[in-house]
Structures are given as C-alpha cells and as structure tokens.
C-alpha cells in the first residue's frame, strides 16, 4: 500500500513538473509588436569623408620618412562623423551623429535604430551628412510609404545605389 502511495506521489510530482513546463514553454503568447504597428529600421555602415584632403608631402616631410615609406600624397586617416536625421510625417523622429570607429577614428560610422510606428501611410524624409560641415546635408531622400501591420521598412545607405535607400 505504501508503495502505491509513493508511486502516486511520484506521478503527481512528474505530472506537476510536466504541466509547469508545458504551460510556460507555450503560454502566454508574446507579440513583439502591437497589432497595428510597423517597424522602421534605420541602419547603415558608412565611412565619412576624410577630415582633410590629401596633399603632396613637402620635401622636409619626405626626408624624415624611411625610404620605403615615401609616398606621393599625405592623407589624414581621421574621418568625419556621419549625421543622420529622420523625419516621419514632418516631425523629427530621430537624429544621431555616429562617430567613426577605431582608435584613429578612421573606421566606419554605424547606426542601428528601431522605430515602431503606426501602420498606414507615412511621409518619410531622411537626411545624411558625412562631411566636416556643421550644417546642411549632402544626402537626402524623401518618400511616401504605406506600411502594413508588422511590416519592416529598412532605411540603409548604399553609395552605389545613390545613397539613402528604402528597402
């Protein structure tokens, strides 16, 4: 009789444990995004312009260099930060200046930003500056997009495709 009780107790324990796992491995459902929302991902990896134009070495500078290091042009490694602005329906939704990566600040500037917006039609304006200028933007893209619920709109930067692209 005692063995029956023990077996029943063990069955209760295993059943309870399985129930715990069964419930919390499926429930409650999780929605990463509200039902009427879409997602805009603004992201790019872009090298800003060099902070100074390349110029020829002076004779004195060349003399200081080892013979195998003498090149015709001297180019600064440091690059300008990249500034991006995103307007949605005329209002600024995001503005960010991405510093160049690397110890010498000669790497790419990177941005990754998620923006959850209501689905539907939106007027999107993206501006990007990759020079040392302190005002104005040298790239701009405007578009009207119709975002379906749960749709992901990607805003990227691709120089080969003319700069700012919407995917």
């Amino acid at each position: 009789m005692n063995r029956v009780f023990v077996l029943a107790g063990q069955a209760l324990l295993y059943g309870g444990f399985a129930l715990l796992i069964g419930v919390f491995s499926h429930w409650p459902a999780y929605a990463p995004l509200a039902a009427d929302e879409a997602l805009i991902k603004l992201s790019f990896v872009h090298h800003g312009k060099r902070i100074a134009e390349c110029r020829p070495y002076t004779a004195a500078e060349l003399a200081k260099l080892a013979p195998n290091m003498r090149a015709p042009l001297k180019c600064e490694r440091e690059r300008a930060p990249v500034t991006v602005e995103l307007d949605i329906d005329g209002a600024t939704a995001y503005r960010y200046t991405a510093a160049p990566s690397g110890l010498s600040r000669d790497g790419a500037s990177t941005v990754y930003k998620r923006l959850e917006v209501r689905s539907g039609t939106h007027r999107i304006t993206v501006r990007l500056r990759d020079t040392t200028a302190t005002s104005g933007f040298n790239y701009q893209h405007e578009a009207t997009v119709d975002l379906k619920p749960a749709q992901v709109l990607v805003i990227d930067f691709d120089p080969e495709r003319g700069g700012i692209v919407l995917l």
């Binding site: 069964g22 499926h26 429930w27 992201s43 992901v152």
Partner: protein, 549 residues
Amino acid sequence: MTVSSSLLPIVPVPSASARLWRALEHGFDALAGTSGNPLKHLGALGFWLLWLLVGSGAVLYAVLDTSASGAYPSINMLSREPRQWGSLLRGLHRYSADAMVLVVLAHVVREWMLGRFRSFRAPSWLTGVPLLPLMFACAIGGFWLNWDRLGQFSATATAEWLDALPGLASPLSRNFLGGTQLNDRLFSLFVFVHLGVPLLLVFGLWFHVQRISRPAVFPPRALAIGSVLALLVLAAVVPVRSQGPADLGTVPAGLAYDWLLLFIHPLTAATSAALVWGLLGATLALLLALPWLGFRRRTAVPEGRPQEAQVRSPATSHTAWRPIALAQPVAEVDPAHCSGCRRCVEDCPYAAITMVPHPNGRMGMELAQVRSDLCASCGICVGSCPSSTPFRSAQVLHTGIDMPQWPIDALRQQMLTGLAALPGPERYVVFGCAQGAQLDALAAQGVLVLPLVCTGLLPPSFVEYALRAGANGVLIATCREGGCAFRLGERWTRERLLGQREPRLRAGVPRQAWSLVAADAGDEAALAAALTALRARAAEPFVPLESFA
C-alpha cells in the same frame, strides 16, 4: 548522558533558509519517497537532462539541413512525420532544455539555501556559476537553428542585445535587416553556437565536479525513467511545432513563447539592453562573490577545545584571499599506522586524499596524503580506516588517519567511560549525526549519546565494541538518505553496517542488538521510536569485552 563538551563536534547552526529547504525536502520525501525525491538529486537530474539533450540533439542534427533556406523545411517535415517519432524527438529535445533550466536553477537555490558555497565547497560553486549563462546560450541558440518565426525573433533580439556592448565594429543586427535573406555563413555560426557552446558546457561541468569524488552524473533509475516518461508524454500531448518560416520583412506576431528559455528578450524589450546587461553582470558578480560574503575567518579558539588551536593552520598571505582557506581542522595521517590500503581514498567525498610513496621507502608501499584545502573535516576517512578498530589493545588507540579535534582514541575513551557511568541495569549507546535529528532528548537514564559530526566517522567495529563493553543495544542515527551534509556519510555508514562495504560490521554481531535509523532535524519522534524499538528487542549483553580479549 552526553559526552563532555570538548569532544562535541563543531556543527554550524542551520540557517532559516536551510531549515526551510529541509522542510520542503521532507514534504517531497513524504510524497515521493526518500530515494525518489528529485530535490535530493537535482545535480544528477541536470546531468541526465543534458545527456537527453545530447542524444536527441544528435538525431535532430542528422536530419537538419544546415542551410538558411533548408533548415526550416527539414525540421518542419520531421514534426509532420506520420508516426509521430519526429514530433516526440523534437518535443523531448525542447522540453529537456526547459526541464534542465528549471532543475539547474533549483540546484543553485538548494546549494545556496543550504549554505553550500563556502570553504571546501567554494571551488564547485565558483566553477558552477559560469555554467549558468552557458546553459542559456546553448538553449537560446537552439531556437535559431529551426529558423522559424520564433527563431527569427530570438536571433534578432539577441543581436540587438549584443549590439548594446561596446567594441563591435558593425552592428550584428544588420544581419537581420528586412529585405535581405540570411546568408548560409551566418547560419553556420548558429550551428556553431548550438554545438560549440554545449561542448564548452560539458568541459565546464568536468571542472565543476573535479573537487568531489563519485559525482552523480546519473540519477537513480526511477528518477531517470520517470523524468523521460514525463517529458515524452508532454511531447505527445503538447507537440512542439514550428511557427511559420522566418521572414525578415515582417515582425513575428503572437508567438507561442517559451518563457523558461527566452525570458530575456521580453525583459530587454520592456526595459533596455543596458539594464539587462547590468542585471546579468550584477547577478553573476553576486553569485561569484558569495563564498566571500558574510564570512569571517575564524581565529578565536572555541571554549573548551584547546586542541583545535594546535591543528588550525592560519591562512598565509598568499592564500588569505581564498574562500577555501577556512580555518578548520584537517585529517592527519600517521605514517606508522597507515597501511596504504586506499580505503580512505575510496570513501573521501571530496577527493581530498591521494596516495604517495611511503616515507619508509619499502617498495610498493603507499601512504595517504590529505590536501588541507579540500578536507571537509567530516572524519569519513577515519571511519573507513581499518586501523580505527577499537579492539586494538594499545592503551592509546592510534589509527592511520585521524581527526585531531575528535581523535578516535578519545571516542573510545568517552564511550567506555560513559558506559561505565551509566547506572544500568540496561545500557544503550546512541551514535548520532550532529546535523540530523536532535539527540539531546535521548540522553535519558541508561542511554549514552555520542554525537558525531558525521556518522561516516564511526568505524563499524565500534558497534560491536560497545556491545562487548556492556551495552545492551546500539543505535546509529544518520541523517536521511540524500541529506548528508558531506554527501556520502549516510550511505557509507549504512553500507558498512549492512556489510556491503569495507570496513564491514562483523556478521556475527546480533542484528537485534543494533539499529540504524535515518532521521533529519525534525524527525526526533522517529528517533525516539527507533530507540524504543531497540530497547524492546535488544538481547542480553553481548560477550563481555574481558572474555573477548
């Protein structure tokens, strides 16, 4: 009567958390039986679930198409296999991971509540903490391999979480931008995460169990079978299904979500990646710091125990930082009485004893050597030593390995003196685990109570010796099965007394003259009942010691 305070073992007072955990264990004991109590085999169950994951994962890997475009159809087809074997296998794999997380977290809580993270246990604790994030990394990576909507969400959320760390040249999240397809090279990285991290986990587990002997990597058979059956039934009743192929152009909606394994993503979404990183870092730092927290190095000599002052070696400047440098007595080997039989090596629960060539230089002869930083001061080695028999005629009983604070000779003397002092006509001796049931209540007239830090310290021949010295009966009170503070003390005591392990209690000792009872704190009624039963059946005094000699 009880022995003088100079021989009482130093036993830490159980904390409120320890008492609470023991109460929970006792509840499970009542429900499922002591040997089938999962709370007493959490570490072994964790290993068992890992073996299930490895076995089921190997079969799943064989059918997995390891390309980004082929992974989903290959696993989905397995789930739709008409005879349900694929679905069962997939369910077993997923639910084993869920179960492992629960069991391992319960294992951590148990060790913490019982205070088992300091001193000689600190290495096991410290090597166990890093395994927790590894375990979750293995589990989360498994969702990506399926590359369904849930896998897509988890991979994207993980990348966004990792991007919060400084130093990445390019955001990992760019791999999951909409309008692109996941490339096969990245998918190979997923495979590596889900295969490589478990290998690291197994390697880490090897470190984790290095400081203990006979690590339990398989639970008792009943628990192993029961857990597999429970998981298979769950897999059949609630099959694990893919949630549609991944599509980076849309955000998954309404996911059937595994909160046990993937809770970190909603937590990050509800707070911030930086906060979750901070929480994770703080939790791990706290767990790693526990062996040092709330612990004051003991320097004062306890009242009435001057012998401890002689054996305690102060922490040196280069070991003072170590949590294992707890000042506690260490077993001492007497080369003149150590025969090199290796029984102490076999029985030590913490692998603290090794054999070295005997200094006497005799070919092939070995000597036990104790590593002081591993010694738990439990005395189980003393109980295993054949030289610990009290029947040796030397006036002072020297044994091969002894605890300096509770020398075996003192135990013999205490027993003989105590027995002689009992008024009679009936005399009983109780050897009890000081960390088990309260023994004080037994110290009535005619009963000599000898508390031991662990009953594993007791050489079985002491039972016969007590009977021959005039005791009518001997009661040995261990803690409950699976509840030994020193892992193996209860088991070794039981097996030695029942003649299943060396050194054995001699078969000629009348069975009705001694009794073995397993009683934790709170089981005092069972202890008293065992003594009453022993009194009722105990025979006349055994052949007296004088005639034996």
